[in-house]
Amino acid sequence: MPSIEMRGITKRFSNVVANDEVTFCVSQGEIHSLLGENGAGKSTLMKVLFGLYKQDEGEIIIDGRRVDIRSPRDAYHLGIGMVHQHFMLVNNMSVLENIILGNEQGNVVIDKQKNREIVQRLSALYNFEVDLDAKISSLSVGMKQRVEILKTLYRGAEMIIFDEPTAVLTPLESSQLLAMLTDMKKQGKTIVFITHKLGETMAVSDKVTVLRGGKLVGTLDTASTTPEELARLMVGREITFDIDKKTKQTGEVVLSVQGVKLMPNSQSTCSFDIRAGEVFGVAGVDGNGQQELEEVVMGLTGCKTGRILLNGKEISSMSVAARRKLKIGYIPSDRFKQAILPRYNLTDNYLLGNQFSDDFVKRGIVSHKFLKKRAGEQMKGFDVRFADDGQSMNSLSGGNQQKFVLSREVGKNPALIVACQPVRGLDINAIQFVRNTLLELRERNKAILLISAELSDLFQLSDRIGVLYKGDLMAVRPAEQYTNESISLLMAGREAGDADETDR
């Protein structure tokens, strides 16, 4: 007997149908994964259930009774809670204050003691180990998520919806979260989690519902399916995870980084060359100098020690603008801060970084006609899905935003592409697109610096890989000479040989 049934839910936004007669059933006490690509309508469906959106058609039945959910408040009354992807936490307040907000114990004056006891009991029950007096701003992302979970539990949620919960977590935090979900299931809670990651779906869920393009594809028992089948259902065609990388001759050295110090507190320096037609991958655990490398190559931070050469010309002390004029394409790791202006329209965003070009700007005046034409062509060429080039950048999905950034940066016909975490937060289709684009650029004899946390990307795309550890580029070898184990050791700061010595 399903405890929650959503029948024939249709939700439209002006001209887009986000959910098209979707039926979704969740039984008491199960972990149910809601799988689909970005824009498949997963979040919309769950926002309908949580009362943030009102469905245009369809009904919601809880425990056999038809219900009308108009607001999150109604949802909580029915025992439904939600952990949002973008946390709904007040940074300046304590953990306790955030948890009780809106549902404080006490009549007018807040009964701090009573609140604290209730929250402590809940926190202990699930082994959350959260300091209730800590300010939210001092917490790690994983901890913030626990606070969000506590918030829903405090409000008596029996069923908790998680919106892409692992998107913001480190691998360790992710596995802790998945363990927590299993614990919560044992306590009798029902969990729905929205994701596009197949691994975690297979790992913890009992059932999977797949959505594609706003429509229901099907609901399956996790035990009786495979990642391959799910991927096919999700994308709507067979997808291969393998990539076709041709061997090819490399050309002249394009980028040469010589003895550049990345971390101020470390003596280590970093040196490497990238040739035309070569993808140079940089591996490493986040925070070992990747960000610094990206910034120093682009000129966002100064280069105090060492030199950087582009096509044999020293660029170490050049401004960002001067480097851009030398044709460097840049895909920043922080898309929102450095690649796009979220509130500006697509055409205006296309001008970013092109303002130096005489094609786009003539005697200081922007040539809007050319800009519009060029932006339109490039966006179509890169399969950016948009309705109108006047729409704002933040109305595009993450995948489309990244395609847009690619279209703009590649459109500059750069000699060097600096691609930093280019697939972070993207769905399978967009990831494939980014990978293929990078390989195509390699075919076209561009030099590519690929800084990525995804080992599979590095292995499949790179010709050579260097491993960063505390600002030190430890080893530079052809990609095929690494194994998962040997690269992991290097990422932890140890050579493969070291391990043998300690064994002896």
Binding site: S71, P72, M82, M88, L89, N91, G102, G106, V108
Partner: protein
Amino acid sequence: MENLSHILSADMLFMTLRLAIPIGLAAIGGTICERSGIVNLGLEGMMLMGAFGGVLGSHITGNPWLGIVFAVFIAGAMGLIHAVLCIHYRTSQTVSGVGINILAGGLTVVLTRAVWQVDGRSGAVERIPTVTIPGLSDIPALGALFTGQSPYVYLTVAIAVAAWFVFYKTKVGLRLRAIGDHPQAAAAAGVNVKRYRYAAVITSGMLCGLAGAYLSIVHSNMFINDMVAGRGFMALAANIFGGWNPIGSILASIVFAFAQAMRITLALDIPDQFIQMFPYILTLLVLIAAGRKARGPEALGRMED
């Protein structure tokens, strides 16, 4: 030397207290409003309407206490205008606040002329009497604080303490602070953000009305054009300097009031204009110093959902 001893005298202390009252009340109003995430540049205009309202009420009814009721009501209505513009119509909060100031400046001139048929000032009206609290006034040294003071002194202290209590001890306060920092989080927690914001902006106007009435029917007995003379902006500065906290706002107001008292009493051998500038320059300097690390409500002035 004579000047120095003068600065530390009891007279100076009382003058500072009296001057701090209107700034402090308006500053608490600003704090309440801005904690809900709405910028209030209209404190000045709301005070001006309050000052006019106080005189008008006292003139019509002959009762200065009813003058205060008028002032609170009229300035509260100005708050409502700001609230409707900012919350319902999502007007730029800066534009709305400046608009309120311009509206108040013009409206009071026109209305003064309409009621009293003279330009620049109203006729004299009844003012709020001072009080002496029996018993407390007999305490040695401290007795002066309870002798012949305006009831506004006690009212202001009570409002500051009450505002602090509401902010940090009650449900309403927690929710209001949450709204200013992260309205979406408050909304997701089931708080009616709009209702709280309306209440906060209107309350802010009412406190400005109270402050304005003090200038016109307590400190004086008539309305004079532009009699608020920048105190609304000082109040806004006091709110920032005070860290968007009611008690901090009052303390900051006392600092600004002290500067004003110096302006009035100080007799230095420098051109008077410079002494007149002193409180304003001090406000500016304090803002530059405090404003750098001032951390106001995180979502202050942002209305997107």
